[in-house]
């Protein structure tokens, strides 16, 4: 198993025959991380298929958010490897991972509260001309032209997520659910290949939740964005995601279509507490 990574893995992505299962866009292998004696993530391996909406579920403390942080470069793994479309991401910083098309959101939204919604979005596109100190002075026209283009794109994204009416509102003034939508909107400004959503439904009222869910489906279908999401709202996961990956004790416990995972006694066991369940049945 271990030997099959290097070249072979690349070949697989490169020349997948038609009809074969779609290749893995994101591949996590043997990821391990401990904090002061506590093993948060333990030889965790899984693949995320391109074009899928994959869920990552598991009981509290299973290491889900840590896995997200390891993938997106906010934490360095002690061991293991993260690959995006065959490219090694391990050890890159968050901004480098971002530029390769992998965006994440936080469980508690991290909006820039003192900026307007529109500014929050306009911040996102990488390598903006005006981000270099001298350009606004030396090349004001080019900077403004680019700003306008970015603004148009931001307005489009806001339109898509039905947030247009809030564009000049300071982000700090948004409701919890609106902030979640804003997080999603920010990832869209980067034309991501894959988006990691950390509990998109937490603290969101049902009607807004329905909208977020609808948008995820739409973005997945229309723009081909792959989603990997951590979620505690099990009904939501069951209706939206395929496959579902169950994490327990920092490692993958089960994976499969929602109906099968749900019927898996090991999963219920993990939730109700019997780590033994998995071992001694």
């Amino acid at each position: 198993m271990e030997q099959t990574t290097g070249k072979l893995g690349e070949d697989r992505t490169g020349s997948a025959p038609a009809g074969a299962p779609p290749p893995a866009l994101l591949r996590v292998e043997g990821l391990t991380k401990s904090f002061g004696g506590l093993q948060a993530v333990n030889h965790c391996s899984f693949d995320v298929r391109a074009g899928s909406i994959t869920a990552l579920i598991g009981p509290n403390g299973a290491g889900k958010t840590t896995v997200f942080s390891l993938i997106s470069g906010f934490l360095r793994p002690d061991r293991g490897r993260v690959e995006l479309d065959g490219e090694d991401l391990t050890g890159l910083g968050p901004h480098q991972v971002f530029r390769r098309g992998l965006c994440r959101t936080f469980q508690i939204p991290r909006e820039h509260g003192s900026m307007t919604v529109l500014e929050n979005l306009m911040l996102v596109p990488p390598e903006q001309l005006g981000e270099r100190f001298w350009n606004p002075i030396v090349r004001p026209r080019a900077v403004r032209a680019q700003e306008r283009a970015i603004r148009d794109k931001a307005l489009e994204v806001l339109e898509l997520l039905t947030l247009s009416h809030l564009r000049d509102e300071y982000a700090a003034n948004l409701s919890g659910g609106q902030k979640k939508l804003l997080e999603l909107a920010r990832t869209l400004m980067a034309d991501p290949r894959i988006v990691l959503l950390d509990e998109p439904a937490a603290g969101v009222n049902p009607s807004l939740m329905a909208r977020i869910r609808e948008k995820i489906v739409q973005l997945n279908a229309e723009r081909g964005i792959t989603f990997l999401l951590i979620e505690h709202d099990i009904p939501l996961v069951m209706g939206l995601c395929d496959p579902v990956i169950v994490l327990n004790q920092g490692t993958k416990l089960a994976e499969g279509p929602p109906s099968i995972v749900r019927g898996d006694p090991r999963v219920l066991e993990a939730y109700l507490g019997g780590q033994h369940g998995a071992v001694d049945g």
């Binding site: 002061g36 004696g37 509290n60 403390g61 939730y271 507490g273 780590q275």
Partner: protein
Amino acid sequence: MALLTVEGLTTGYGEMEVLRSLSLRVEPGRIVSIIGPNGAGKSTAMKAVFGLLKPWQGSIRFGDREIGGLSPDRIVRLGMCYVPQTDNVFPSLTVEENLDMGAFVLTGSTKERKERVYELFPRLAERRRQRAGKMSGGERQMVAMGRALMLDPKLLLLDEPSAGLAPLLVDLIFEKVRDINASGVAVLMVEQNARKSLELADHAYVLVGGSNAIDGAGRDLLGDPEVGRLYLGG
């Protein structure tokens, strides 16, 4: 009379409401467990009881005294100790010094109390000169529990004592909880390991979405299919 009575407790972080009108009771000398799916507000309930979060509404009574809004150091002096889930030892202090810190508010010799803790956790007695930061997760949990016991509390709050521990250690920790309880200390604990904690608890509350869903004797809930349904959402 109940040792701890929580009635209609509502609180949260910032603007986010996490607990909605939560009520629970702990009788003297009992083990009470709070279980529930992720994000149900279990740890938040614990923090609110211990004064780490200000209640927005409702009352928290310890004995016959209202403690809602008191600071943790005042609550400690009333006889309630709290063991947080993580970062619960002083890593650069030895085991013995960690225990000394537990008895900080006491004056006079604490030797006898320390011996009692060592009796309960012989493993700590062997390692009393070792720095807590160099110990395994299970040993740290014991140090933290031992430190809380130094004050001879009437009520011990445990936040997920089994989190992150290997299966064998989980059993050991639960055994210790039983021993602690047998020495006359009431225990209120939050657990993700629902099955184990239900086996142990005299009474248990299942929290869903920040409020009580069901409660009952631990053994009864253990066989209740409703509990599994609440976890995996119907």
